[in-house]
């Protein structure tokens, strides 16, 4: 009896082994995005064993592996560049920065574990990260509970900084971009009549549209028509026909690049020649692929432009290129800004204890960051300028910087 069981189980096992192979293969592909992390590239010293007296320990949590590894890597490189520059200039209050970077594989629960380790094992004085709001939201309650400062470079969800008074961000929150584009429309383009075409399924888009409307109307403009679509739609002709009937001078379309590209095409087909306007959801090479020539002459707001002529930006770009050989993207710029703002606050603070640095961070005014002049408001969100880019032959040309 037993031997029969043995045989039958063995035959089953070989079948199961196939599944084991599948499971292992899947787990291998899941980690195949894994790469040499960039902190060896420029050989920054990460001496964790130095006496606590002469180093300021920073912790970084980022998605160095996983599906969003490019975001994590860019931010990581920006952070390391800032640390290198600050340390070369003598550090802060005579102390050098050291960064411990932990990977979270793009998972909220891993980010929570990593931040717990940084705080309790590595005894860091501040946390940098995460890129995505989903990870920052898992980390923020832990940082707050332990009264450790956390600065997120690019989490735009307003709820992140609502987690507590130790959580800061150096990027603008989504609604701000609506205000920026309204200012740009009235002050630079001198427009009076604008139509809105918003994505009702997306609270990012709805937020931008509402703030655009409010600011534009306050500045004396008129919203001639307010139409909507849902992400995933392909045909926008009925909305565009309704918009054409009102003859606006521009259309505000605060959506993502896929729908925006299609809307651009169909607007031109219907004979609507007016420019489109939008937010950072447009920032993708796909916009040209989908929209083609139809997008030329349109404007959108973004965090930073490599064509910005200001010396802070150009200096950052040349140093970044020297270290990594590529032009930095917006995420690298924001990772860089997160560190320099922290360093600036530490320099201004009377002592390096958390409460003093926190107060100094709150008092950040007109700081010249790569991603604009940065002010921290009482909600610990960055209030800063945004850049407006114009689409010309598929290339995003820097137009102007709009201050809040």
């Amino acid at each position: 009896m037993k031997s029969i069981f043995q045989v039958s189980r063995n035959s089953k096992m070989s079948r199961k082994n196939q599944w084991i192979a599948v499971a292992l293969a899947m787990s291998m592909t899941a980690i195949s995005g894994c790469k040499k992390s960039a902190n060896t590239v420029n050989g920054i010293s990460q001496n964790n064993n130095s006496a606590a007296g002469d180093v300021i320990k920073l912790g970084e949590v980022g998605s160095m592996t996983g599906s969003e590894a490019t975001f994590g890597t860019s931010t990581h490189q920006g952070i390391l560049l800032a640390v290198k520059i600050i340390n070369a200039a003598g550090g802060v209050k005579g102390k050098q920065f050291s960064v411990t970077s932990l990977d979270d594989q793009g998972k909220p629960e891993e980010a929570a574990t990593a931040v717990t380790k940084l705080i309790n094992q590595n005894n860091v004085s501040a946390i940098l990260g995460e890129v995505a709001s989903s990870r920052s939201l898992a980390m923020a309650p832990i940082a707050q509970q332990n009264k450790v400062l956390m600065i997120t470079p690019s989490s735009t969800n307003p709820k992140v900084t609502e987690q507590g008074d130790h959580i800061f961000r150096v990027c603008f929150i989504d609604p701000f971009q609506g205000t920026v584009m309204a200012k740009f429309a009235t002050e630079t383009l001198k427009l009076k009549k604008v139509a809105i075409l918003r994505d009702v399924k997306n609270d990012y888009s709805v937020g931008l549209a509402n703030y655009f409307k409010e600011t534009f109307v306050k500045a004396g403009g008129t919203i001639v028509v307010d139409q909507s679509y849902s992400a995933g739609d392909i045909d926008f002709k009925s909305q565009l026909t309704a918009i054409r009937a009102k003859a606006p001078e521009a259309i505000f379309v605060p959506g993502y690049y896929t729908e925006v590209g299609l809307i651009g095409r169909q607007a031109r087909e219907l004979g609507l020649k007016v420019p489109l306007m939008g937010g950072d959801g447009w920032d993708s090479p796909k916009l040209k692929e989908i929209g083609g020539a139809a997008m030329d002459g349109s404007y959108f707001s973004n965090h930073y432009s490599e064509e910005d002529k200001s010396p802070v930006v150009q200096d950052f770009i040349s140093k970044y290129k020297a270290d990594y050989g590529v032009v930095p993207d917006g995420l690298a710029a924001m990772g860089y800004d997160a560190v320099v703002i922290l360093a600036d606050a530490m320099k201004r603070a009377p002592t390096l204890n958390t409460e003093d640095v926190r107060k100094a961070l709150l008092a950040t005014r007109d700081f010249p960051g790569v991603t604009g002049k940065i002010n921290i408001n009482d909600k610990r969100d960055a209030v800063k300028s945004a850049v407006v880019l114009k689409v010309e032959n598929g290339v995003f040309k820097y137009q102007t910087t709009v201050n809040p």
């Binding site: 037993k2 069981f5 039958s8 189980r9 089953k12 096992m13 079948r15 199961k16 082994n17 599944w19 084991i20 499971a23 292992l24 899947m26 787990s27 291998m28 899941a30 980690i31 894994c34 790469k35 040499k36 992390s37 902190n39 060896t40 990460q46 964790n48 160095m64 592996t65 411990t100 932990l102 990977d103 594989q105 793009g106 998972k107 909220p108 629960e109 929570a112 574990t113 717990t116 380790k117 705080i119 309790n120 094992q121 709001s133 989903s134 939201l137 898992a138 309650p141 332990n146 969800n157 709820k159 987690q163 609270d203």
Partner: protein, 350 residues
């Protein structure tokens, strides 16, 4: 005792061995008074995730190991339980914030929502299982994988629970006591179940479906039963996870999560509760134990080593760490009888 080996242990043996399970339960509740404050939070976090993973692995083992059905949707059931429990507590607590100051009410709330979350997951398991468990092997695996993804995409599109932005501000209710009491409860339930008449039916389905059917076992019903019970405990684990991390995001519950649990079951041994426990702890700890290596070498190959170790383990121990054996099989005869309540030699021990 010269009782003949029984393949059908008597019902009361469960009660006779209850002390074996109640003793650690008491220890855990006593430890709970100290461990939260005394322990380093980082190790505490690992300990909590290890416990949650044990519940997931043991409950999946009931389906994948003991009943021989390859389910890939465990993370989906976990998310149903997690979201349901978190949704209720978040709303109850925001309406009556004073609950958080009252430990009795807080624990009662957690207990109620965990039960509801588990039940919700069990219902989802029933809906998924009833039509799909008529399928076998690869087909079943694909269907469960699909259902897991469907659950995730549904969550992504429901605004009331945060959609893609996730669900923050879940009250922190999960404690060491809760996680490890439920580890004991899950282990006890699965252990007793597979050693009962129903458990024999599970095993018979795994070993030979046609033979089982000809002996009068309703195979579909048996499979659905295992599936629903497994889903229930996955839902409970999801609830514990939600109230520990205090933030839920649908991305947490993708198929990679299901694979992680499957790996625990396979590594421990399909059909070994002990194996699932050991593998769940091992893999949870291993992931974190490799972190210093990453800091030391400044290379990001933590997950490469993790996967490499899995491959080596599977190559050297293709039946998993424990095969189908349990910890009791390694104990002396007399002690084993006391704990398991039967002197039945385990299959696989020979």
């Amino acid at each position: 005792m010269t009782k003949t080996p029984s393949t059908h242990p008597k019902g009361q043996s469960g009660l006779r061995t209850l002390w074996v399970w109640l003793a650690p339960l008491a220890v855990i509740l006593i430890l709970n008074q100290f461990i939260g404050d005394q322990m380093d939070p980082y190790f505490y976090t690992i300990l909590m995730y290890a416990g949650i993973n044990i519940i997931l692995a043991v409950s999946l083992n009931l389906v994948n190991g003991f009943t021989g059905q390859f389910s890939m949707g465990h993370a989906g059931f976990m998310s149903v339980g997690g979201y349901l429990a978190a949704f209720i507590t978040t709303h109850v607590v925001s309406a009556n914030p004073e609950i958080m100051n009252n430990p009795v009410q807080g624990n009662l709330l957690l207990f109620g929502t965990l039960l509801l979350g588990g039940t919700g997951a069990a219902i989802a398991g029933y809906i998924v299982g009833l039509p799909s468990l008529r399928l076998k092997g690869d087909y079943l695996a694909i269907v469960t994988l699909g259902f897991g993804e469907i659950i995730r995409v549904i969550i992504l599109n429901v605004d009331a629970i945060g959609g893609a932005r996730g669900m923050p501000n879940i009250p922190s209710l999960t404690s060491f006591g809760w996680v490890y009491s439920l580890v004991i409860v899950t282990t006890f339930a699965v252990w007793r179940l597979v050693n009962s008449a129903h458990g024999r039916a599970f095993l018979s389905v795994r070993e030979d479906e046609i033979a089982a059917e000809s002996m009068g076992v309703n195979t579909t019903k048996t499979k659905v039963r295992a599936f629903v019970i497994g889903a229930f405990f996955a839902g409970v684990a999801g609830g514990l996870f939600a109230h520990y991390l205090r933030y839920l995001n649908p991305a947490t519950f993708d198929f990679n999560r299901s694979f992680e649990i499957i790996i625990m079951v396979v590594l421990g041994g399909m059909g070994s509760v002990t194996g699932s426990i050991v593998a769940a702890v091992l893999l949870t700890v291993l992931k974190e134990a490799l972190r210093p290596l990453q800091e030391l070498t400044r290379l990001d190959f933590r997950m490469v080593i993790y996967s490499l170790m899995l491959i080596i383990l599977m190559l050297t121990k293709p039946n998993g760490l424990f095969g189908t054996r349990e910890i009791s099989d390694f104990l002396p005869e007399g002690l084993r009888k006391k704990i398991t309540g039967s002197n039945k030699p385990k299959e696989g021990a020979a």
